[in-house]
Structure formats: structure tokens, C-alpha cells
Symmetry: C2
Subunit: 421 residues, 2 copies
């Protein structure tokens, strides 16, 4: 039986998982695919699983110069060493499989150009949605569709935090600490909670879905740090919950892409995606609504996608597909930032006569229609006043909020969360 030699760079959680999945599933993969996967070399600073000494490479050259190794799996992460090693492998004509969303979102064109130059493959299913087969589905199953919109929970850490806030009524800081203790959030959680991670993934996913490059600097990004237990409780009173959604829409040449906390009805399919699970909801011109759900992170789920890419690359037999439209920004594409959505607004106000009238007056001036109001008056100087608006243009909302903030009776805009149906 044909044997495929591969090398793994980085043996942390996903690297270790990938090594183990290849060992465990070797036989059934061989039976179905007709070849055997063999990890010939591993290059790592630290080893999360035991590796025979003869498989440990001393440097990247040992791998790049080994003619037996056809596929290099990069699971180091980050943008420096990982990039250098990937480019070295591609330049040597070796196909690269990577889960590195940050690097790909930032340097897709450069990496793909390097791959195309030598005809090597460049695969990254594991970079979005962990084990969920979303990128391959977009490329190999939904080709007949013009994708019109997608909304997705693609960060497990923030979904874990929001689910816990929802289920236990806790505040953000408390749940974040718990999540860190349990290993669901990193010591420095910035990339997750400030939605950088979701932004990278949305750039990759929406670019493939829409067939035009959606660079990260055209993605509006807001994290979940300002969401409070009170907001979550009020969301439930309104029949909704709060999720960190990555949203992208394309209408003709106009594209919008944004990651932000979003209120959705409890009946929305994404409302039931709990804990560390991820889910991607899409609408295509032929297929209509379609949804994918699964584990968005972790050793074995992510390894499932990595090993799938390896097998897929072997079967491509040297004829790799690329997404060349990513390479050059399409001059026809208009990135809309003045999108439309309805809003949940929570103000802290002094409970005085005329406050409601003043605020709603300003809203009216900027075409902000009010769908519902919750006023929990206590006669104090700091009471919450909650609105849910009808569809409003982003710029109108910003202008209205700016003016409302100037009102004497308004202490602050405590929350401003977009609502999607």
C-alpha cells in the first residue's frame, strides 16, 4: 500500500491530537482511501504526546529537504515562525495544511501565491469551526449557490462564557475566570473576548463563501466584555439571548461583514448552540437555509479537520485547487458600514420627568423607530431605561446616541447590542 510521509510542526493541543488521530485511524483510513499516513517527522519545542526519538526533527531544514515528505502540517500558530516555515515548505513544493486563522487572514495572498508558484497545495479547513466541515462544504458542496448571508458562532470561548452567563445569571468577569481555570479561556483571553479570533475566521469563511476577498480591516469588530448579567436577563425577558455572531451579507457588489454581540430570538437555530460548540448558518440562492454544528476547538475535533485536509490533499494527486480571487481585492466591491439592524439599548438615566420624552425625541429626529420600551423606575438617579428599536441605519443610530449622551438626565449608554431576527 502507498505510504504518505508527512511532517507535523508544533505539538501542542492540536498537534498532539493530530498525531494521535493519525495513529489511531490509520487502518480505517487505509481501508477507505487506499493509502497509509505516516508521520515521519515532528518539529516542536515541547511534546504534548510521546514521540519516538527518530521522528524528532532538529530543524525545519531537515523536513524541507526530505524528499519523502510530501505534506507539512503547521500547527504552531502565530504569524512569525509559522509563516517562515510554511513559506519554506511551499517553496520546496510541499503541500501545507494549517489551522492558523490569524496568519491566513493576514497573509492569505502571499501564502497562496507561494503555493501556486510551485503547484503545492494549501489547505486550512481547521482554521474555521474546528471539526465542522464548513470550508470544504462551501467549496465542494455549495458551488451551485450564490451565498447571500451567513451568521455564525465561531468562537468557543466566548460562547462558553455567554452560555454560562445565560444559565447562571453570572457577570462576565466571574465566568471568564472560571473559563480560564477550566482551560476554556487562555491566560491572555484578548483574542477571543475582543473577537479578533472570530474576525480572522469570518474573513476566511466569508471570502470563500462570497468569492471575493473580505480583508480583516473591512470587518467591524466588537467583543463581549461589556455584556452584563443584567443584559442577558433582559434579553430573556424579551424572548431572546445574546451570542457573539460573525455576520456577513452580500447583495450584488455590496458586502457587509461584522462581528459583535447580537441578540437573537430564543427560537433562532443559533440560540440553542451552547457552551464551546460552534455553528454556522448560511443562506444560499439554491439551497436556502443550511446549518452546520459541531465542536469548534479542542485536540481531536480540530485534528479531524487537519487529517481530512491531509487525505484530501493526497487525493488531489498534485492537482490542487486555489482561491485565486483572494489574491487581489475586487475594485467593484463596496464595503458597506452603514448597515441596517434593530438595536437593544440600555441607558442609565436619572428618573426625572421629561427624560423619556427627550430621548425619544432625539430618536425620532434620526429615524430611530421604537419597537418596545422597558422602564424600571425607582425615582433614583440611576435607573435603567431599555429600548428595542426597529431597523435603523448604523449612522443614524450613532448620531442619535451621541446626542442622547449630551442630555443632563442621561448618565451613560450602558449597552448597545444589535438585534437580528
Amino acid at each position: 500500500m502507498k505510504k504518505i510521509d508527512i511532517a507535523i510542526l508544533g505539538l501542542g493541543t492540536v498537534g498532539g491530537g493530530t498525531y494521535q488521530v493519525i495513529e489511531r485511524e490509520r487502518e480505517q483510513i487505509a481501508k477507505k482511501e487506499g493509502f497509509e499516513l505516516n508521520v515521519k517527522k515532528v518539529l516542536a519545542l515541547d511534546y504534548s504526546v510521546p514521540i519516538p526519538d527518530e521522528k524528532k526533527a532538529k530543524d525545519i531544514e531537515e523536513i524541507v529537504n526530505d524528499p519523502d515528505i510530501k505534506i507539512v502540517v503547521e500547527l504552531i500558530g502565530g504569524k512569525t515562525v509559522a509563516k517562515k516555515f510554511i513559506l519554506a515548505a511551499l517553496k520546496a513544493g510541499k503541500t501545507v495544511v494549517s489551522a492558523n486563522k490569524e496568519l491566513i487572514a493576514n497573509c492569505w495572498q502571499e501564502l497562496q501565491d507561494a503555493a501556486m508558484e510551485t503547484g503545492a497545495g494549501f489547505y486550512f479547513e481547521a482554521s474555521v469551526g474546528g471539526g465542522i466541515p464548513i470550508l470544504r462544504s462551501v467549496q465542494e458542496s455549495l458551488q451551485a449557490n450564490t451565498i447571500r448571508s451567513l451568521s455564525a458562532i465561531i468562537n468557543g470561548t466566548t460562547n462558553y462564557i455567554l452560555t454560562n452567563m445565560e444559565d447562571n445569571g453570572s457577570d462576565f468577569d466571574v465566568v471568564l475566570k472560571e473559563a480560564q481555570q477550566l482551560g476554556y479561556a487562555e491566560a491572555d483571553p484578548t483574542s477571543d473576548i475582543e473577537a479578533f479570533d472570530s474576525m480572522y475566521k469570518l474573513s476566511i469563511l466569508s471570502s470563500l463563501a462570497f468569492g471575493v476577498h473580505i480583508p480583516i480591516d473591512h470587518i467591524h469588530r466588537e467583543g463581549i466584555t461589556r455584556i452584563t448579567g443584567l443584559d442577558m436577563q433582559l434579553a430573556h425577558e424579551l424572548g431572546m439571548t445574546i451570542k457573539l455572531l460573525a455576520i456577513a451579507k452580500k447583495d450584488g457588489d455590496t458586502v457587509e461583514a461584522r462581528v459583535h454581540p447580537t441578540m437573537i430570538p430564543l427560537s433562532h437555530p443559533l440560540a440553542n448552540v451552547k457552551g464551546v460548540f460552534n455553528s454556522i448558518f448560511m443562506n444560499g440562492s439554491a439551497v436556502g437555509d443550511v446549518m452546520f454544528y459541531g465542536r469548534g476547538a479542542g485536540d481531536f475535533p480540530t485534528a479531524s479537520a487537519v487529517v481530512s485536509d491531509i487525505i484530501y490533499a493526497v487525493n488531489a494527486d498534485g492537482k490542487h485547487k486555489y482561491a485565486p480571487y483572494i489574491g487581489k481585492d475586487d475594485p467593484n466591491v463596496i464595503f458597506n458600514t452603514n448597515w441596517t439592524s434593530s438595536y437593544y439599548l440600555r441607558f442609565s438615566v436619572a428618573d426625572k420627568p421629561g427624560v423619556l420624552s427627550a430621548i425619544t425625541g432625539i430618536m425620532g429626529k434620526y429615524n430611530v423607530g421604537i419597537a418596545s420600551v422597558i422602564q424600571k423606575g425607582t425615582g433614583s438617579d440611576d435607573v435603567p431605561l431599555i429600548f428595542v428599536t426597529y431597523d435603523t441605519k448604523e449612522e443614524d443610530m450613532n448620531a442619535a446616541l451621541k446626542e442622547i449622551c449630551l442630555l443632563d438626565a442621561v448618565n451613560e449608554v450602558s449597552s448597545c447590542i444589535r438585534v437580528e431576527a
Copy 2:
């Protein structure tokens, strides 16, 4: 740009949808894939969409003998003409794309052998789950996994009926008539409501997922005709709902495959799959739980899968993959029919002293543990008595029911529905 000539056989709902999707999406497909799809010929008895006269073929020979036509799309359905035409096309070396679950479930080996003989491709994503990319995901995204179990809602008609019974408290017959009027159920609904359709689809899906042939005669099949409004109401009282689930499990060489009405907790991901939507829930050794959701039928959703297969086949560039393990039944595989599950049982009994004791006595004798009882006594000769059991072996349950039926006070076993967690 390269032009790919195809022929469509059958222009009913899905055939018409396929023709239209190819027309509408030609440009974006060409942009992403680098070739243009062209429907050169259509062979049909009746035309659901307008077709230029020069595209109308007079017989199958005109298509089979046309060297330009590389791909033949069979959307006639049934096992006679469709089979003849598919075999003719495959023997002429033309790749076939089909949505014909009944034919494939019955004659997979013969059709695949014919394809392998000439090296033609044979694709059928649309045969399971309509527009949901499930077969391709199993084959091209979950290869690193040993699939251990799957449970799926893969028949839209029955799910529409059960959802309506759930939402409106109606009985089966009433909702079926409504569904027929709305076009969601056929004039002869047997294939759907008696679960033949789900059985065909489960055979195809589980064979690909497990990598061994699961023939339809090893699939236990029960339809939904005996489900009553009362059962649905009682399910809700128990925190559950009733779905027609296609279930398959593999543990080593032991396989079980069954389609039957199933009670599942309202918190189960499949419980929220409503109306004509389909969903497939799977567990893989690496990926863990993963779920796919979308429209399982209809013109455009099914066409999405058909056109995807066409594009995929073109990209395979003559190197088509097969599932050769389907061809021969694996002698090592043991088909288990004495599976384990818990049960919801509803008896009609005469409300007399000693009935409960007699029934539970028999249950005890056959190791049927009782998780809960609902007794709605009215002192009459026909009162419902409901049990939910713990995990029980199928054979034990059958033996117990047989003996319970012989009790004087027991009028009938009104319902016996398996429960899955």
C-alpha cells in the same frame, strides 16, 4: 472558457430546479470553477419549465451517442426506466449524477460496477438530505473519523406531519390530508409515511459512514401512521417530542440500523428540526458530535446538491472515486436486531384492581425496568396506562408485550415508541 455539455433526464420538480439553477448560476460557477455548464439535451415526458426545442432529445440514444455530453443527470426516479438509462449512460462512459435513493439503495452494486467498468463517475449527493451536503462531508471531510453512530431526520413529509401534530394537537389522518393538499405529501404517501424513503436514505448514508454495506433488508422499518395526537401530547408532558428517526450504530463489527418513530427530549438538537427541514446528527471518533441541517427536498435545494455533484465530477477530471466496499457484503459484519433502547408504552386497559400489578409483574419477568408510569384512571373499561421503561433489549420487550396482550384486562398495546436520549 471550457464548456461542459450535460443532459438532464426527467424534468419534474427536481429536474426543472436543476435546469434553472444551472441557468441562473452559470456566471458565478464559471468565475469560481473556470468552466461553463451547458444543458445540451433534456429528455422528459413532461416539461415543468420552458425548454428550447433544440434541446429536447427524442430518445436516450440521442444522448448516449452524443460524444459532447460528458455528464448525464438522472432525475426520473423509480427503478425501471431510470435504471435502464443510467446503465446505458455509464456503459457509454458518461458520468451519471442521480437523486434516485430507491434505485441506489436497491442496485448500488450493479450501478457502481457499471461505472467502474468504464471509469465513469457515479454521484448521488442529492439522494440523501436534499440540499444538505451530507454524503460529501462523510466522504471528503470526516475521513479521519470512525463514525460510531448517526441519527437523522431525512424525510421532510413525515417531519412536516409530526411537527403539525405537535404544534396543533391534530391527529395523523387530518394532518396527512392537509399535507397532501399543500403538496408536502404525495397522493400515494406510502413511501414517506411507512418510512421506505427514510430506509433507502439510511442504507446509503450509513453504508458510506460506516464503510460497510448496510442493505435495506437489514434495516428495521416502522412508519408513523400509528402515532396519535394523544401520544404527542403525552410526549410533551414527559418533556419529549416524537420524530421519525433513522438511526444507525456501529460498534466493532456489530451494526444496527433502524427507522422508526422515536421520542427524544425537547433539548435534543433534532427536537428543534421543524416542518420539512432535515437534519443529520453524527458522532465520529475524532470530531465528536456534529450536525447538519437544511432543506431535505424541493426543487432548488435538491438541485443545489445535483449541480454540486456535476461540478465535483468535472473537477475530478476523469479520476472518479468509488465506494468499492459497497459491492460485496462484508462477512464479518453482524447485524444486531436485539438492540437496546428505552420505551414509551401506552396500553388501553380496563380500570380494575390488579391490572398494574399484572403488567408490571410480566415486565419484571422480562427485565423491563420501569422509569415512570402515568395512570389516568376513570374507572371505565378503556383507560390509558402509560409507561416509560429503562433500557431494554428488543427481544425482551417483544416477549413482555406478547404476554401482556394476553391479560384479560388489557384491551390493546396502543403505542410502543422507542425513546432515545
